[in-house]
Symmetry: C2
Subunit: 345 residues, 2 copies
């Protein structure tokens, strides 16, 4: 049987997501993870929580205690919180719930790739609006393209550029959009900037957060959404009832009482590296735990990093050709990366 013929039209043109990572590496600076793992104390608490899990029972479908704690922390009600199997899943649910076939999903470009991929996976039409020369958004163009669209996605700070878009331009989009506006604050604990205050009196603003970055919990897959009840009620209609497993729920319960890990250390490291590189390379001022750097020869950089066993993200084509994205890891990892950059690439 010709199986390919049976697939969703928009999926035909979609390639499987390739994180493009090095398989053999010594240092992993390619996925904006937190180089500092959770503390031994937090690990111990998690193991204790998990030792009490009833593995044979389905997890709490409402993730009640976690939502209550996150609501309290963020000054909203539990009904305004949805927990996802990573933010990826929440991005997926938003597109699934709020687009019919061919509806538009609008986002700046370059940005987090999952907006485009998940639009296509759900039969929606991805519409990318380029960034200006300072990697800021064209707010009017975004609004214009969003007419009749389902959702505008804005990563803040943006990935892979690392900068926060101008606050005025963001507010202009949020205040004037006729569709959902999703502000993806995955790196919030690093930027310390949020649009949560604009949620008041506005039911179309959705904030995404995650435990994957500052909280060193990428392995547990824990993202969350803050949104008006009008939105969360619809998301809960498409959400898989048991989308967050019992072990990750145990992790969340522990990490909600822990501080985000090593944020100040990472920010200090980022500034040191920025200062050391900025005279030799165009580097974008970052509000996140990574830096976007333009090199002369991406292929050469790739070879040198691979040879040194350092896995980083190097863009091969498009607007970011010859840019590399360096996650700020632990000091010794950053030093190893710096050493290569200083050789000139």
């Amino acid at each position: 049987m010709n199986i390919g013929r049976l697939q969703r039209k928009s999926v035909k043109n979609l390639a499987a997501y390739d994180p493009g990572l090095l398989v053999d590496y010594k240092y992993k600076l390619d996925a904006n993870e937190n180089g500092f793992d959770i503390t031994p104390k937090a690990r111990k608490k998690i193991l204790r929580e998990i030792s009490a899990v009833h593995f044979n029972r389905y997890p709490d479908p409402a993730t009640g205690d976690i939502r209550a704690a996150l609501a309290k922390k963020n000054g909203v009600k539990p009904e305004n919180v949805v927990i996802g199997n990573g933010s990826d899943e929440l991005i997926h649910y938003l597109i699934q719930a709020f687009t019919d076939q061919g509806d538009k999903i609008v986002f700046p470009s370059p940005t987090f790739e999952m907006y485009r991929i998940l639009a296509m996976a759900n039969g929606a039409e991805p519409v990318a609006v380029g960034l200006d020369e300072r990697f800021d958004i064209y707010e009017k163009e975004l609004l214009k393209k969003s007419r009749g669209a389902g959702i505008i996605f804005l990563a803040y700070p943006n990935n892979p550029t690392g900068n926060c878009f101008s606050r005025e331009k963001m507010e202009y989009v949020i205040r004037n959009a006729g569709c959902l506006v999703v502000v993806d604050e995955a790196y919030f604990e690093f930027s310390k900037k949020t649009f949560i205050n604009l949620m008041r009196g506005r039911n179309n603003l959705v904030i995404l957060r995650t435990f994957s970055k500052a909280f060193s919990m990428a392995g547990a897959r824990l993202g969350y959404m803050l949104a008006h009840r009008d939105v969360t009620e619809i998301i809960n209609k498409v959400r898989l009832p048991y989308n967050v497993n019992a072990l990750s729920q145990a992790c969340a319960r522990v990490m909600l009482k822990e501080k985000s890990a090593a944020v100040e250390t990472i920010l200090a490291e980022r500034e040191i590296i920025y200062d050391l590189l900025k005279d030799d390379y165009p580097v974008i001022k970052s509000d996140a735990n990574f830096l976007l750097i333009k090199v002369k020869d991406g292929a050469k950089a790739r070879k040198l990093f691979e040879k040194s066993g350092i896995s980083i993200r190097i863009f091969r084509d498009g607007a970011l050709k010859d840019f590399l994205r360096l996650t700020i890891g632990m000091p010794e990892e950053n030093r190893a990366a710096l050493k290569i950059m200083r050789r000139g690439v």
Copy 2:
């Protein structure tokens, strides 16, 4: 803003899934879970595995070792295996990947509710074909309705009826369908019957399995799909890259080396209960870890079970009005349920 207006058309008519469980219960016999949790030895191994997890790193997006082990166990190649965040997620991916808006998803009725819910959540049209008086399928009607459809779903054994459909009728559907046929073998370890042998030379047959039932792993959310590479390649295009978290992957690695828990005990209990009830109630012969029983007064049964703190599934309307589905739990749980049944409901 009128947010409801923005939602996907097919989602408008969809209610959020309500597992309909009792909040306060002493015995939980409502979700076909395995009443016997994993062994202390398995728990210890899992905790040891998890204590070595790098929480700060994204999980293996390929779930490589788990797929390899499952492939070996089932006589297929790793490329024929996809791991899901529960089978629910795999059902979702199948519908997402293989239907355009309005395409049909065909299944018998009554059956596992997620086929209908996830069809609607993905913009597909659910088409239910009733079962005959012996709860067997109308194989010709199913085939007829599947013309131009995306997928036929067949739960084997069926849930909530508990029986396996006739093998000849199933084979007739599988051999003659012009679309994907998904055989959901969630209770395979109890029925010990499978259609895996029909996968040879046929790329449209998909088998679903899970660790949630016989392996007592409902909390970890681990389902898997066995399918031809033509299918898995397309599923991997819509699959979230990090859909299976690192802790559940650790659980899978351990449980792949463990035996399914207490299956023979549960089967023996099921037969005892069946024999004790069959003279007083219409009870369906079961191939799974639950029994479907017709009572005289569903409302009365509900009241009595609730009063005793036993959570079971009682159907309120439709073809199964006044039927109850009793999960076979641990002996003392089953005795408590029997006691109520003997009072006459």
